[in-house]
């Protein structure tokens, strides 16, 4: 099983790893993809920086999984 990053197509074994990668890279392309999914990159970033629980990664992870079908 492997998951592709919707923005740059890099592959990872889990959707969570893709999510972390999207977040960590934070460049225009990756941010744009997040926004295109109806989420604010900045709001997710804020939540990740200030709240324990990794909710942001979970949200992104789900989006990544959904996106696999169209990649």
């Amino acid at each position: 099983m492997s998951f592709k990053c919707p923005a740059c197509k890099k592959e990872w074994p889990t959707s969570l790893q893709v999510a972390r990668h999207i977040f960590g890279t934070g460049d225009k392309a990756h941010r744009a993809w997040v926004e295109s999914q109806g989420y604010s990159y900045i709001e997710l970033l804020l939540a990740q920086t200030t709240e324990p629980g990794n909710k942001s990664y979970a949200i992104l992870s789900e989006l990544v999984e959904k996106a696999q079908a169209t990649l």
């Binding site: 960590g24 934070g26 970033l45 804020l46 200030t50």
Partner: protein, 767 residues
Amino acid sequence: MSTNKYKVINTRVHNIDGIAKVTGRATYTFDVKLPGMLYGKILRSPHPHAKILKIDTSKALELPGVKAVVTGKDTLGIKQGIWRRYEELCDEQILPLEKVRYIGEPVAAVAAVTEEIAEKALDLIDVEYEVLPAVFEPLDAIKKDAPVIHEGVERNINVTRHIEWGDVDDAFAEAEKDGYIREDWFKCGGQHHACMETRAAVSSYTPDGKLTVWTSTQSPYYHQALLAGVLGLREGDVRVIAPYVGGGFGGKFELDAAQFCSAVLSMKLCKPVKIVFTREEDMIASKRRTPMYYYVRTAVKKDGTFLARESRMFSNGGAYTGMGATALYLSGFFHSFPYKWRGYRYDGYRVYTNTMPSTSMRGFGAPQAVFCSEQQIEWICKDLGLDPFEVRRKNAHTEGYEVPGQAFIQSCGMKECIDKIEQWVKSKGKLPANRAIGVSSCGFMSGGIFNWFDTPYSFSSAVVTINYDGTVELHVGCQDIGQGSNTTMAIICAETLGVRVEDVKVHSGDTDHCPADLGAWGSRQTLMAGNAVKMAAEDAKRQLLEFAYAEMGMNIVYDLDIKDRWVHIVARPERGMPYFDLVKKALRGKDGQRIIGRGYYTPHRKGMISPAYSYMMQAVDAEVDPETGKITIHEIMTAHDCGQPINPLGLVGQLEGAASMALGYGYLEDMPFEDGKLMNPNLVDYKIIRATEMPETGMIEIDTYEPEGPYGAKEAGEGLTNPTAAALGNALFHALGIQMKELPITPERVLKALREKDEAKKQKKNT
């Protein structure tokens, strides 16, 4: 302890400003009085965010004794900032024209014959505001619907910084397979410089178009250039004089309202105007240490080898940029320090809010970064059952290491620091209940390489002039703010030239007579100004020795040097002549002209941060009362690598002083705001550590030689502020098993952590 090979360096010389300071002779800006001097007072905004609609100064002007009232309309309206190279970061009109952005921001200034009258006049100034919605926390300020603090700045994001090396995702992937990953969230508070001398300036503009400003400053040159810029004057027509300075700690090298308003008033009246901030003004309307939210995710191998770290940080920038861009970068860099990471990624975001601006303060973002890093490392060690000293040693920087794309590490005593502290901690044996020792490693820069001020001058310069009687005039631009730079430069000059400290007179603190120097911040002066002084003294000595070579006429294979006022053949030191005799001959030889030596230093190709780094490990022995949450610090021991110590009395002073300030940051000093208003702007409620609370502090000096520094020296001013909060947190972790993720560590937070720990235990029992 090796025997000292130097005559002056690393000897216990008295501070050369000591007599002035212990006899009440030292005058500060606070004391300056000029004939016909007027007193200025500043009217400040009561609102955190508001448009200035109208300012009516007519009634104030009518008050007998009031000579002038100025507002933004009386200025050139220039948006200034200390990051001159980047226009978008020059965002501050000290007397704003359109709106105010924090409670306490200046809106008008009055000059009157007495302070009392000036103060009365403030009440007579009518300001019509249109109050705007305000936002106080970076997390709120960044939301889509948050009020816009600076027009054109989207989401109030002031600056962003990104530091990355290696393949971070790869390293995390490896750790996910068979390593260990830990994630934590931290909140670090602000802190106030709280110098004993508040911000102060006396400006005197004279009919010849020249401005002289006496001010409490860390950098006369910066203030000369900044004032010239905002007032439309030539730098050469502005003279900045720093009388003795009552502390700086990072808060006094940017343009402040005392300097600006007194200058504007003086230029209007052609009379001297003095503005001294009250303690309350100083606390609400200057700039503070940057509060930071940190997210830290770290991956390690099961044996404790560090793999990667990914961190994100949001900082509360307050209303203006100040030195915030530097703090943003340095925090992210020193968050990786002093360890080797296969992969590292840091994203820092600085957000505007309607609160007092944040800026540099001793440690420059590193105390916050280290608080997070060093505690998490301790928790990882606990999680994996590893020895915290062993893990730190295993991953520590070593001599010759290159932090990829960031820094070249030359001298590095990190391993020795760890060894010494490990020995010390073990020697303490078992401590009583509720008491433990926590450790923290860190390091710091010795001055920065980046020319954000956009100066055309060398970063440091020095001139050595030798008088007929052998006394030496040393002109430097570096600024003594209490750390003893005058003494340090005298020591370096005396050692290099071969004379005694008492033969050297240091001239500093006057832009009319001293060369430009970036000033006292970023722990740069010992290395940068020290190198300039060494070069100048070497130049002077070389010129002087030309006459000795001629005089002594020895075989070409021999060379001369001067030590302790004795000019001699190095291989045959008994053969020589007194320095004083040589000076007289040299003067005659040069047609009555004094020998003048010049020196300067600007770092070239030294990486992204600094030419050299200090290293240290600190241990804090702390006890907690589990009933009240009150902390008692018993002892602090630091193993410290600052290369070659130059001024040993000064070094101990820096260690002890830094510890007192860092302890304050760790558990005493808090800056609570409510709706943008600082709730404790006085020295009763803002708790600075007192003599009765200060623990014993010891230092183990680690001997290294830094090739970049004068005689192998590097910094000892700020690095020592970095480890203490983390070491204290680690002490609490070992004493009570609590993880402190918020600074300062107040009794309330300790008790809360204990409660949460008990609840977690209960829940575990029930499952």
